[in-house]
């Protein structure tokens, strides 16, 4: 990995950490499009409990891992909402980067063994048949 790529990745990761760690606290708390559709047909009281009607939300069953320490984008035991949401976001970004990055790194073509497909080869020889990605 080149130094320039490392700088780009670090910058991108920093943006993701700020979005998940800070900006996430300013996200809308309204139901999203899917949840909105799931609630159509039912009436709700002030505590957001279903009081009548027919809707998908009535059929919802609890998540198998609802007791997860990071369930619902918070950290159990941290009462401050901002801290709880922000830290769970930071952990999620780091975890996703580690799992995704690790998996993709293991799946990648090893450039030295595949001489003809070395880094940058795609750009240098666009007419090569193996480059037809579309």
């Amino acid at each position: 990995m080149t130094g320039r790529l490392r700088v780009f990745l670090a910058g991108g990761l920093l943006v993701a950490l700020l979005l998940a760690g800070v900006v996430s606290n300013f996200a809308s708390g309204s139901p999203d499009g899917l949840d909105h559709a799931a609630r159509q047909g039912c009436t709700f009281n002030a505590d957001d409990e279903i009081t009548g009607g027919t809707c998908m939300a009535q059929q919802e069953q609890e998540h198998q891992l609802a007791d997860s320490p990071l369930a619902d984008y918070g950290i159990r035991g941290i009462d401050n909402e901002y801290l709880s949401t922000g830290l769970s976001g930071v952990l999620g970004v780091l975890l996703t980067f580690a799992i995704g990055g690790g998996m993709f790194w293991l799946l990648r073509r090893r450039s030295p063994e595949e001489g003809g497909h070395a880094l940058g080869e795609d750009l240098a020889s666009p007419s090569e048949p193996s480059d037809q990605k579309a």
């Binding site: 990071l70 984008y73 970004v93 996703t96 799946l107």
Partner: protein, 232 residues
């Protein structure tokens, strides 16, 4: 207003047999993606794909208001297709969905096949077809790339939402009119798609300005200028 909401299909909304079928469909789809992704992934694309997955996780937490009482969030398919290609991109979105289901209890485990099929496979496939087409016909500029991201996002998100409607038609547990569900999903997701499109366009245009060599779609879907000149 500051709680991040659960945002994917929960357990129970689609019945067990249909959920199981979609787990099989999702696994088959992901197997194809892994097979094709191996051809794309190299020392440069692999870490970039990790970053794209992490970025999608972050942006999915940022619900934006689309109507009074209704919000939406990015799904990520178009962004992923443009930055890392369709096969790796579908795996990026899947990684996010799996982390969310296993660690954040968002999106039921039984419903994981449904969520992966809609957002990682169907939404990404629609985005891929549109990106591949639009980059060939739109101007070779930041505006062309931005417009590609916007249009592919709107359609990709609505198509992903229709994936849910199809699953609901096959195995929905609530006694509701399919057309009513389809209309609600299409309406809100058109607006959500516009929001997603603005985020995706901003992101890919920024990356294209800083490191155009890291944008998969510019390498793969636009005929290289030099090759064109050589042919002419």
């Amino acid at each position: 207003m500051d709680d991040v909401q659960a945002m994917h299909i929960a357990n129970g909304i689609i019945n067990g047999p249909v959920s199981a079928i979609f787990i099989a469909i999702a696994m088959a789809g992901l197997a194809v993606c892994v097979w094709r992704a191996k051809l794309d992934l190299d020392d440069r694309l692999a870490p970039m794909a990790g970053l794209v997955a992490a970025f999608i996780f972050a942006v999915q937490m940022l619900n934006f208001q689309v109507l009074p009482g209704v919000s939406g969030h990015l799904l990520g398919g178009t962004l992923a297709v443009i930055l890392v290609g369709p096969w790796v991109g579908a795996l990026c979105v899947s990684t996010v969905l799996i982390v969310q289901a296993l660690v954040f209890a968002d999106g039921g485990l039984t419903a994981l096949g449904l969520n992966i099929t809609n957002m990682a496979l169907i939404g990404t496939a629609a985005a891929y077809l549109l990106v591949a087409l639009l980059l060939r016909v739109l101007p070779r500029s930041s505006r062309g790339l931005g417009a590609t991201a916007l249009i592919a996002s709107v359609i990709g998100v609505v198509v992903a939402a229709m994936g849910f409607v199809a699953e609901f038609a096959l195995g929905g547990t609530a006694d509701l009119s399919i057309t009513a569900v389809a209309a609600t999903m299409a309406g809100t997701h058109t607006l959500i798609g516009i929001g997603e499109g603005l985020i995706a366009a901003t992101t890919v245009v920024t990356v294209a300005k800083v490191r155009p060599d890291l944008v998969y779609a510019l390498r793969a879907f636009r005929a290289p200028i030099r090759a064109k000149a050589a042919v002419a």
